[in-house]
């Protein structure tokens, strides 16, 4: 028996639409749930005051600093390294067994649970290199953790740049590096920025890799050798130790708003850049 295509079409649309609505509802529910519990404690004093009694009272100011400084530190290291590697992989090497191994390796690294990176960072940066629990150790660990994401998304973006641009550039006497700099990278930028955004999001929300490497000090750090605590770690400690669920949700709400803000800012900057170029 054949089913009328009209019905299968109707069925497909119904299933796809409900799946989409369901997904969005879950997201909205989570955000709403956390904001509802967190917003009441959120206020200017919550953001600007130091915590008291391990976070039971007071604000979250030091964790704001930690949340900004760790991802920035990590991305400052990972972005140039990652983009350079992706340019090398996409533009400067022929597809050989070695590049396949490198690509497979980065894919595997991207899938490793972050606690493994935390453990690695603890053993290597904190103990072996003697950096201690510090912004330095935490930032380096986060950099290692997000590197595969940056490499793979940048590589895909670079490969998506039409080959005709490269051909024209070469035919006008440009070297490969000039072509990369003037044609390939500007056109791959939106994709590269997406990878960096994902990485910032991952670093901001990371706990396992950070708690073992940057520690959880509530003091405001004065150098990269000081320990710090991020909002995500603060939330984890508040909730796990049962210190204060109000302040835990307040921290979570701040975190969600911060991630949203960073994303909006990045997309706005990118669109400005694209609009300016074309």
């Amino acid at each position: 028996m054949r089913i009328n295509p009209k019905y299968t079409q109707w069925g497909a649309v119904t299933i796809l639409t409900s799946a989409t609505i369901f997904t969005i509802l879950i997201l909205v529910f989570i955000i709403f749930f956390i904001l509802e519990k967190g917003l009441p404690v959120l206020g200017l004093s919550f953001l600007t005051e130091n915590p008291q009694e391990m976070g039971k009272a007071g604000g979250i100011f030091p964790t704001l600093i930690g949340t900004i400084i760790l991802p920035v530190f990590a991305l400052l290291i990972a972005t140039p390294l990652g983009i350079s590697t992706s340019v090398y992989l996409a533009e400067y090497t022929k597809e050989t067994r070695i590049t396949k191994v490198i690509r497979f390796g980065t894919d595997c690294l991207a899938g490793i649970p972050s606690i493994i990176f935390g453990l690695f960072g603890y053993i290597f940066f904190v103990i072996t290199l003697g950096f201690g629990w510090s912004i330095l150790s935490g930032g380096l660990t986060l950099a290692v953790m997000v590197l595969p994401t940056i490499i793979r998304t940048s590589e895909e973006a670079i490969r998506a740049v039409p080959n005709s641009y490269r051909k024209v550039s070469f035919s006008l006497g440009a070297s490969r590096w000039q072509t990369v700099k003037k044609v390939v990278l500007p056109n791959a930028l939106p994709g590269i920025v997406t990878g960096i955004m994902l990485s910032i999001g991952r670093s901001i929300g990371e706990t396992a890799a950070v708690i073992f490497t940057a520690g959880s000090s509530l003091r405001i750090p004065s150098s990269v050798f000081d320990s710090t605590r991020t909002m995500a770690v603060h939330f984890y400690i508040l909730a796990r130790e049962g210190i204060s669920s109000e302040n835990a949700y307040g921290t979570a709400a701040t975190l969600i708003i911060a991630v949203l803000f960073v994303n909006l800012l990045a997309y706005y900057t990118m669109h400005r850049f694209i609009a300016k170029r074309s």
């Binding site: 005709s164 024209v168 550039s169 006008l172 006497g173 440009a174 070297s175 000039q178 056109n187």
Partner: protein
């Protein structure tokens, strides 16, 4: 092949073989192209005419597994010798591609791309060459008031002339054209053909075309290629009125191709 002893040959291809891996795409090709003349390469798809064209500015280097034997001299310099600077060669032997392919940049930035790559930063110099190149490609009057507009906003035929202007800016001697009109309508095609005839006063042009009428309209010399071989090379009038080879005759009379 009729030779004029007084003629100045700028391109000299001798016994050229080209392999894509194991497949031989060009077989013992010989060709001479005269200065300030238009040389057309015709033949059915896959005959090797575009491959031959890409040998002249070494664009085939970008394709993996290409092996070349034989010799190509441009201005008496062996372009495949180890001492050849490929960058300089490509500046001297420019290329217009099948599809108009401006960069997603402004008209001005497109035209001066090659100059900037060559390290020219002087604004007045860039402006001068940009205007001269756009005039040379018959595009100045259409775009002089909107040099900051995106090149991709122009109609297709103007885009192709923008690509020609971008090429003229680096001051090549030879211009290679790989089916430059295949994505244009007949009126735009006519305009590009007129432009080519104007350009040959200063440049030497080699064009690959599918369109036999185009070859007969614009070119001074024509080479007919089939399955990687140069079947016949002669003055265009001879090729189209009294071809020496039976295969050429069959092709131009439309028996195949």
């Amino acid at each position: 092949m009729e030779k004029q002893s007084s003629a100045e040959y700028i391109i000299n291809i001798k016994n050229l073989d080209l392999f894509y891996g194991k497949f031989q795409a060009l077989i013992a090709v010989d060709m001479l192209a005269q200065k300030n003349m238009i040389t057309a390469l015709i033949g059915p798809s896959g005959c090797g005419k575009s491959t031959l064209l890409r040998c002249l500015n070494r664009m085939n280097d970008l394709i993996r597994g290409v092996k070349i034997t034989g010799k190509i001299e441009i201005n008496n310099l062996d372009i495949y010798s180890k001492s050849t600077d490929v960058t300089e060669l490509r500046k001297n032997v420019g290329m217009v591609f099948q599809r108009p392919n401006p960069f997603p940049l402004s008209i001005y930035d497109n035209v001066v791309y090659g100059l900037r790559v060559a390290g020219i930063r002087n604004k007045t110099e860039l402006d001068e060459i940009a205007e001269k190149s756009l005039r040379g490609a018959w595009l100045w009057d259409q775009v002089k008031d909107k040099l900051n507009h995106p090149g991709l906003e122009l109609p297709l035929d103007q885009q192709q002339r923008l690509c020609i202007a971008r090429l003229l800016a680096v001051q090549p001697e030879v211009i290679l054209m790989d089916e430059p009109c295949s994505s244009l309508d007949p009126i735009a095609t006519m305009k590009i053909e007129e432009l080519m005839i104007e350009l040959k006063k200063e440049y030497t042009i080699v064009i690959v075309t599918h369109n036999m009428q185009q070859a007969s309209r614009v070119s001074d010399f024509t080479g007919y290629m089939l399955l990687g071989e140069m079947i016949e090379f002669d003055k265009t009038v001879n090729i189209f009125t009294r071809p020496a080879n039976k295969l050429t005759e069959e092709y131009i009379s439309g028996k195949y191709g």
